[in-house]
């Protein structure tokens, strides 16, 4: 399978997949089964799983599967819906479920909190899979207030973490992605997601994992398998090849515990926004930001938020334009100015003692004064909702305000993130914006985007917003996303992460040898391919 593209028509039409019947079946109607799995296999697997977790925690019919089938990503042919769901309470149950899956060759799609919104939520990359829903495993196993570390299960949400720390008066911060309350550290870290404090690169602050392998073995990475694993959450690397990375964005094992580092609450927290008026300012913002990030003067993951993305959070498209064609920069600029926003709104924050923060602010103000940026404080921005949102995120605060993006194009709730990566150089920006606008306009969509500046890299975060209640628009969104992946891929701008609808296509941008190595690891660790075939393009 290495190097080959999974062809949906081939899967659906060439007889490799059976279709479940309709009447009298306690399963999803019309669902496509995994290759080589019969109706009887699926039914027997679900029955055996009921014996492990109890009837209440297995779903196998369309009605009970409904909450696992909801997704914001385009799925015009319905190939990403799961055929079942099973929710274990503990590691022993996970092992028992994997044994059943191996017996019937029934693939499982593990999810942690299952709220990877705009990346697929609890839908699957390939048809016929049972969701292995780990949300019930929501134990906070340890919090070390001296080392500032925690060990958690996959179902723990950031809300739970925040509640635990507050209820126990522990002055540690968490670092959240944009939908913090309903997602958690394990799932977000395993998808190599980011947040917006100095601990925003989540995989960098991950430390130690417990992984149930496809054969049921339990691997503890790093220091976790030593006779006294007291350094499990203190030292990432252990000895020998570093294994944690192969369990991120992969399907090589089921992560059931993960360690992470937590940031001590700083004495002073000062959020700032730098506003620029013109679209083309993005290049010089990037060039001004790069040395500040590399030197650590700006310590957090920086978001350069385009005005259209900002407006889409709290406003609907009809307020900004009446035209069906791509909204223009002029329309966006006018509406943004009325709402105290620049065309680019760059959010940064300072953390430390009063003297540290003051000195960093002095340097930052100098750097942005040189490129005509307005550096604004909390006091100046007052109750501006966008400033409030980002000031919340940059202290690890909880918010779901970005869910509002899903309403930009109407009620339908369609959202797919396209996030190609480039080096953090101004010269990399304008070409990407021009290309994105061209492709989006061709399919009738707006350019609603931001850039994030990491330690050396630039993420272009494009929200493809569409009306999912309109089948024709959902199809256009799917086509548009594919053209974005290949159009950017041809220029070497490839995604750091993608949704279930495009995993194979994104993997193809990284070349055949990459895919062959991943396929070889997969074959060695999961010879029956029961764990999430199709994840990251790995069958």
């Amino acid at each position: 399978m290495s190097g080959a593209t999974i062809d949906r028509r081939g899967l659906l039409g060439a007889g490799v997949a059976a279709t479940i019947g309709i009447a009298g079946q306690a399963m999803a109607q019309g669902a496509v089964l995994a290759p080589g799995v019969s109706k009887a296999d699926l039914a027997a697997a679900l029955k055996a799983m009921r014996a492990v977790v109890g009837d209440a925690w297995v779903a196998g019919d369309a009605e009970s599967l409904r909450p696992w089938s909801k997704s914001y990503t385009p799925d015009p042919t319905g190939r990403h819906a799961p055929v079942g769901a099973v929710a274990p309470d503990n590691v022993e149950q996970v092992q028992a479920i994997l044994k059943i899956a191996n017996q019937y060759r029934q693939p499982l799609w593990p999810v942690s909190t299952g709220k990877n919104m705009g990346y697929g939520s609890t839908t699957t990359a390939a048809p016929g899979q049972i969701i292995l829903d780990l949300k019930r495993m929501n134990r906070i196993l340890s919090v070390d207030t001296e080392l500032c570390t925690a060990l958690v299960e996959p179902g723990v949400t950031y809300q739970q973490m925040r509640d635990y720390l507050d209820e126990h008066n522990i002055p540690l911060w968490i670092d959240v992605p944009t939908v913090g309350p309903i997602v958690g550290p394990v799932g977000n870290t395993l998808d190599r997601g980011v947040g917006y404090t100095p601990y925003g690169e989540h995989f960098m602050v991950q430390c130690g994992m417990e992984v149930v392998m496809a054969n049921g073995d339990i691997l503890k990475t790093g220091m976790g398998s030593t006779k006294n694993p007291s350094a499990w959450q203190a030292f990432k690397w252990g000895y020998g090849p570093y294994l944690d990375g192969i369990f991120t964005q992969s399907n090589f094992g089921v992560v059931t515990k993960m360690g992470l580092w937590l940031m001590p609450a700083p004495p002073v927290y000062k959020p700032l926004v730098v506003r620029h008026k013109k679209m083309e300012d993005v290049a010089r913002i990037t060039d001004a930001m790069r040395p500040l990030r590399i030197a650590g003067i700006v310590p957090n993951v920086v978001l350069m938020m385009g005005a259209a993305y900002q407006l889409a959070m709290f406003h609907r498209r009809g307020e900004v334009t009446t035209k069906p064609a791509q909204v223009s920069d002029e329309e966006i600029a006018q509406f943004a100015a009325q709402h105290d926003l620049g065309m680019w709104n760059t959010y940064i924050a300072l953390y430390g003692t009063p003297a540290q923060v003051a000195e960093s602010e002095r340097i930052i103000r100098g750097a942005f004064a040189a490129i005509d940026g307005d550096v604004m404080t909390q006091e100046q921005m007052k109750d501006n909702p966008w400033f409030h949102h980002h000031a919340t995120l940059m202290r690890g605060g909880l918010s779901l305000e970005e869910v509002g993006l899903a309403r930009w194009k109407g009620a339908g709730g369609g959202l797919a993130w396209f996030a190609p990566v480039a080096p953090a150089k101004g010269s990399e920006t304008q070409g990407q914006i021009d290309l994105a606008k061209q492709i989006l306009a061709r399919h009738g969509f707006d350019y609603t985007a931001a850039f994030a500046v990491g330690m050396r890299e630039l993420h272009h975060i494009i929200a493809l917003l569409y009306d999912k209640s309109d089948p024709a628009e959902e199809k256009r969104a799917d086509d548009c996303y594919r053209e974005l992946v290949t159009g950017f891929g041809d220029r070497g701008w490839c995604s750091y992460r993608t949704g279930v609808h495009a995993m194979d296509l994104v993997a193809a941008q990284y070349g055949d040898t990459n895919r062959a190595v991943n396929a070889a690891i997969k074959q060695a660790l999961d010879p029956n391919h029961i764990l999430a075939p199709g994840k990251s393009g790995i069958a």
Partner: protein, 105 residues
Amino acid sequence: MRRWMLMALALAAPASAQTGQSLGQTLAQRSPAKTYASICAYCHGHNVGPIILGRKLPVEYIQAMVRAGRNGMPAMRPTEISPAELDALAVWISKAPKDTKEHGQ
């Protein structure tokens, strides 16, 4: 300073707003007020979703919406909001008076 702020917040929070989660234990059934605050209230009455308190929405309608997640609303699985939590939450939302602190559409 931050420590004292956190302590003050923790002391000020009513018991129904706490999870009471201990290390090594799964999350116990939350009160409807806590479930609402931990999930629903981040959108509803907060610029994103419609206000749902004080509208006497039917209990069955609320339950169906939570599980199906119409339009932009995410669907909540029984592993996220347990069947028992949803029963209590739907009754609580249906009966709750309008919260004047909520805003938005």
